[in-house]
């Protein structure tokens, strides 16, 4: 029993930490896709966010903000993510570009642009490491609870709890407010929404901008907690993993949250399985591919059918049928 608990004390916090950026980014994807715009560009938006998070933190450290700098860094990452998502919004909503192609281009552009700027500023392929990182802390009182305390409230980042709160907030906004209803209407049946006086294009712009902001948050949180600096290899696949979490979670906030934590769990297992009794004989590759295999199975309907929003990937032209 003790052994199992020891394992859980290592794995559960690691899963939560790895799942946090995915969770935030998946929320971004949710806003965009619920409004009917596919966002393959989440990866690129996360790259922008991570870049913004580090550059912002370094900047505010320079201004003498000290320990508060990473928080401003995250805000900067959110801002950059939102601005950068405008590329996707303009191309796929106003210019009626293929949303998937536009998303792919966004990923290319983000990586090229950020590494280019980093090279121009730092004269090498990576940024300086930030000195005021967010560190893992114990939550007072709660971490003293037996069993649950060491599992959920010890050696964690505050950002994880904030992310969980945001998921609840996103659920409320998308399913309990008029704004959320409009957003979903635009993603399911834009013509009907248009008839009811909802501005389809505007709602979609908002959806994509929010996806940029949230993916920016996901990227910057990853950067200031786990990575500590930015290079071309900082974000490799987390954005696609977040997209997978969104689909695996059937385009719902809590589903995506669960999937993100589960994927985090698989990632944590893949790195620490070698040290765990009973698991060290399973090749690491199985844990590495688990999230992706599960997503495919989910889509094929083996793990409950994942039904995308009806108008996903369809540009809307006023007056067309």
């Amino acid at each position: 029993m003790d052994v199992v608990l020891q394992i859980l004390y290592i794995i559960v916090p690691a899963a939560l930490i790895a799942g946090t950026p995915l969770m935030l980014t998946a929320m971004g994807g949710l806003f965009s896709e619920r409004s009917g715009v596919v966002n393959i560009g989440l990866e690129g938006l996360m790259i922008m966010g991570a870049f913004g998070g580090i550059i912002g933190t370094l900047m505010f450290e320079g201004f003498g903000f000290g320990a508060a700098s990473p928080w401003f860094g995250i805000l900067f990452g959110i801002l950059l993510g939102a601005i950068f998502s405008l590329f996707h919004a303009v191309a796929s909503i106003s210019f009626r570009a293929d949303q998937i192609v536009s998303g792919v281009a966004l990923n290319f552009l983000a990586l090229g642009l950020t590494v280019f700027i980093v090279r121009e500023i730092f004269d090498r392929g990576q940024t300086d490491t930030i000195s005021s990182r967010l560190f893992r802390t114990d939550v007072p009182l709660l971490s003293d609870i037996p069993v649950l305390g060491p599992m959920l409230f010890s050696r964690v980042y505050v950002t994880t709890y904030i992310a969980l709160l945001i998921v609840v907030l996103v659920w409320y906004v998308v399913f309990k407010t008029p704004f959320g209803l409009r957003l979903r209407a635009v993603g399911e049946h834009p013509m009907a929404a248009d008839t009811m006086g909802i501005k389809v294009q505007r709602m979609r712009y908002i959806g994509v901008l929010l996806s940029g902001a949230f993916a920016g948050a996901g990227g910057s949180v990853y950067a200031v907690t786990i990575a500590g600096n930015f290079a071309s290899g900082t974000i490799v696949g987390q954005g696609f993993m977040a997209l997978a979490a969104l689909i695996f979670g059937k385009w719902t906030p809590f589903g995506a949250m669960g999937a993100a934590i589960f994927f985090g769990f698989a990632m944590a297992l893949s790195t620490s399985a070698q040290q765990l009794p009973g698991l060290q004989n399973i090749p690491q590759v199985y844990f590495l591919i688990l999230p992706y295999v599960l997503t495919i199975l989910a889509l094929a309907g083996f793990v409950g059918k994942a039904e995308p929003p009806k108008a996903l990937n369809q540009p809307y032209t006023k007056g067309s049928r």
Partner: protein, 353 residues
């Protein structure tokens, strides 16, 4: 005048305009970052055609790009977006190298066998999303993205477990499975140019032939134009979807074989994606999914990537600028609706006067 902007002429104009805009944006970025665009582009061009070596390397780089472009275009003609070319290429690379290492045979058998094995692996990787699309209506984009990650993790772990030779790579393939060409290498100042270039050129012809000269090709294109009409006229739409993904994957896998048997002669543990597959999307898009277009677009992007080194060495411009230009070209081609719109707007203005 209006007629000129419709149909074929316009289809050629759009990529050219997109390239122009892409380079203009690149120039602006160079200006903003304190570089001289003329020096930068000068270095870029000399890095492509300055020396025979550069030209040889450009052709070497464009070889797999042709294949990945053909792969994307082939699926696209059937109305499918194959983002999984990257993964299909990686498994093709690995499998061809494995066959090249593990088997001893005369070259006439060994080399085609190794390339064929790569194509087969890619085809298998393409079959999965094709089948899921046909059977369960799962969107191929998501499945292919997932298959990319599965490909890189699985091949990396297979290399790590069974084939590790020195450092992060396998041993060199047997000479009987190698595409290496001392002749081509020599005339290009010992670049890595190999016979694969001609295979790639032949593949362009093959795709054109399949799509435009065979009945199956007609069916595939027909499914791409209108699924329902094709179904109504008695075509098996689902079978065509699977076939399209399989052929597309085979092209990608063969492209991987070019990298494995030609450029490197080995497979290595990949720290991240090769991006050849993703670049294939850009190549196919810019080449308007035609064989000739893909050949030219692959030359452009292969050249840009090769010239980027010289741009950094001579003009001090970070090579990532090339990635930015390529990304912007994709944006502009994809947004051709607005270019078309702007053109017709300009035309009607002129006619009013």
């Amino acid at each position: 005048m209006m007629n000129m902007l419709k149909g074929r002429a316009f289809n050629i104009a759009i990529p050219l305009i997109a390239i122009l805009f892409g380079f203009l944006a690149g120039a602006v970025i160079m200006l903003l970052s304190g570089n001289n665009p003329i020096t930068g582009y000068g270095a870029l061009i000399s890095g492509i055609i300055g020396e025979p070596y550069d030209f040889g390397e450009t052709l070497q780089r464009m070889t797999p790009l042709i294949f990945s472009g053909l792969a994307v275009a082939f699926a696209f003609r059937t109305g499918l977006l194959n983002i999984g070319v990257e993964g299909q290429l990686i498994v093709g690379w690995f499998t061809s190298v494995y066959v090249g290492l593990a088997i001893e045979a005369p070259m006439v058998i060994h080399l085609p066998l190794a390339i064929g094995a790569g194509a087969l692996a890619g085809a298998l990787w393409g079959f999965v999303p094709g089948y899921l699309k046909a059977r369960f209506q799962v969107h191929e984009v998501i499945v292919t993205i997932m298959m990319n990650y599965i490909a890189i993790h699985v091949t990396n772990s297979l290399i790590r477990m069974y084939l590790l030779d020195s450092g992060q790579r396998t041993g060199f393939v047997n000479p009987s499975a190698s595409l290496e060409s001392p002749f081509l290498s020599e005339i290009t100042q010992f670049s890595r140019l190999h016979w694969g270039f001609f295979i790639a050129a032949a593949a362009c012809v093959i795709m054109w032939f399949i799509l435009w000269k065979t009945r199956k090709g007609f069916e595939l294109r027909s499914v791409g134009y209108n699924k329902n009409a094709s179904l109504y006229s008695g075509m098996n739409v689902n079978a065509n979807i699977v076939l399209s993904m399989v052929v597309s994957g085979a092209f990608a896998g063969a492209g991987g074989a070019m990298v494995g048997l030609g450029t490197y002669q080995y497979a290595n543990i990949l720290p991240s994606f090769t991006n050849i597959g993703f670049d294939g999307i850009a190549v196919a898009l810019l080449g308007a999914s035609t064989s000739v277009g893909i050949f030219l677009a692959a030359f452009l992007f292969g050249g840009l990537q090769q010239g980027a080194n010289m741009m950094q060495a001579q003009a001090g411009v970070a090579p990532e600028l090339v990635e930015i230009i390529i990304a912007l070209i994709i944006f502009f081609v994809a947004s051709s609706y607005i270019i078309r719109w702007a053109f017709t707007r300009m035309q009607s203005r002129k006619e009013e006067k």
